[in-house]
């Protein structure tokens, strides 16, 4: 399957997977789920860049999210495989730039490897939790959550439109490239000289489409100064409990090195 088509399928899947699901997580207020996700990301990023093992307990959060998500482990892994090369590119130079020796579990290696590993773990946890959250709540849930957290309506609308525009752009690109491919005979790929016209055509088509979407919005009374109400949502005890328990857990992980404490406890129990 061409990569563009694959991207489109994945993006559509994001919403499709979340559609009409009813899990304990879907029944929580989107704002509560969102708050916890933000707290998770903040906690994750607040660790020192040399910490790796201390991050591991945080994997419980995406693991539990996965329990409620319709995303299969294989699909999650395939999403992550797309992102991992970027993370690796960002961190791979650290072992050569930070060569100070460090000893871990009796092995001596460059401190840069710790930074690289930490980056890899953090990137993986952050990406997987965002993906799982999106597939569990759906984009509709995410936008509602943002509005309930009093993020300005214009900003949420911009985000929704940007997402819509990405889809339009991908759809149009796919159509143009399919039409091109079908008339390319045996040649594969796009000739260098044709890229300019293809990109120009794509820009004009998407610009035109964006114009029509804007016209349709104006005809339905859209004006940037129109206040869009905050979606109704009453927090129940479970919502508060959900937020409090996760906040407590993140605080515990951040203030105590749980893996180290666990290791020491095991050493005391099994001294041999």
């Amino acid at each position: 399957m061409p990569i563009l088509q694959q991207c489109l399928t994945w993006l559509r899947d994001f919403d499709h997977l979340a559609d009409s699901r009813s899990t304990p997580l879907n029944r929580r207020q989107p704002a509560a789920v969102f708050l916890v996700a933000i707290a998770f990301l903040v906690t994750l990023m607040s660790f020192s860049r040399y910490q790796v093992a201390a991050l591991l307990p945080l994997a419980i959060y995406p693991a539990l999210l996965w329990g409620f998500s319709p995303l299969s482990l294989a699909r999650l892994a395939s999403f992550l495989l797309l992102v991992e090369p970027i993370i690796i590119c960002l961190g791979i130079l650290h072992p050569w730039l930070d060569t100070r020796p460090v000893t871990v579990a009796g092995f001596v290696f460059a401190q840069g490897w710790l930074v690289f590993l930490s980056l890899l773990v953090r990137g993986t946890l952050a990406t997987s939790s965002v993906l799982l959250l999106t597939t569990t709540l759906g984009l509709d849930g995410l936008w509602r959550g943002l509005r309930q957290l009093r993020v300005p309506a214009w900003l949420v609308l911009q985000m929704a439109l940007t997402y819509r525009y990405i889809l339009v752009l991908l759809e149009e690109t796919e159509r143009i490239l399919t039409a091109y491919r079908l008339r390319s005979g045996r040649r594969t790929g796009v000739r260098l000289g044709d890229w300019g016209s293809l990109a120009g055509g794509l820009f004009l088509r998407t610009y035109d489409r964006a114009g029509r979407v804007h016209q349709a919005m104006l005809l339905r009374g859209f004006a940037t100064h129109n206040p869009s109400p905050v979606p109704p949502g009453t927090w129940v005890a479970q919502d508060y409990l959900y937020v409090l328990l996760w906040f407590a857990f993140f605080a515990l992980v951040r203030t105590h090195d749980l893996p180290s404490w666990l290791g020491q406890s095991l050493e005391r129990i099994f001294p041999w």
Binding site: D19, S20, D140, M217, L218, R220, N226
Partner: protein, 270 residues
Amino acid sequence: MVNGVLLEARGVSFAYPGGPKVIDNLSLSLSGRQSIGVVGANGAGKSTLLLLLAGALKPNSGEIVFAEAGRAPVNPATTPGRIGLAFQNPDDQLFLPSVSEDVAFGPRNQGLAATEVQERVTTALEETGIGHLARRPPFQLSGGEKRTAALASILSLQPAVLLLDEPTASLDPLARRRAMRLLASLEPLKIITSHDLDMIWDTCQQVVVLKQGRILTTGATQDIFTQPELLGEAGLEPPLRLQGCPRCGVAYSPPFAADLAGEGVAAVSV
């Protein structure tokens, strides 16, 4: 503006920047209820006429006045949603993450209270029979579903005039039949553009024939569509059902929509 006229175009001309005139000195009065068909060959100016009537485009000369705006020039900002336009491509219209959000978009912009917005959404979805799609992302729907969702997003505004650009284009026969039944059941005055003259025959009592941005003729659908020469002049052919069997030449004489439609027939005058 004569009493009872809802929408009136007076000497309207329009050209896209750098292009030739798409609408040329067009005058038209629309009143009543039910449906008026606007037909013409490709490039006759049908879609542009709808955009002008909705206020999405401003005429280069002439004016379009709307009774509800105190006979002032039509402007979507002053009478939001009172003239609803369903675009030819529903993808141009649906942009929010779920069908219900999209249907609620217009009423929210009208400044209605949350409960009333919800009521409007429920009514529009029920009216169009797509309540089960409320939570679905619009861009995952089939062509027919998208078209219906786009229509629901207009109906939730409770428009006085409904402008429909090719409402049955690229629909399969069943979806087309369903769309036509739905259109026939809708209350407000409908202006429908289409190449599908059989559909226009079934749904519109009056018809406006456009040729190169000018009105070639207007009148009762039954009268216009039974004049092949006139239609030919506009680059059109009579509805298939009036063309008769290509082998035996026997023409089928279906009942005309207006005969079945009852009271409140739409009126158009030039």
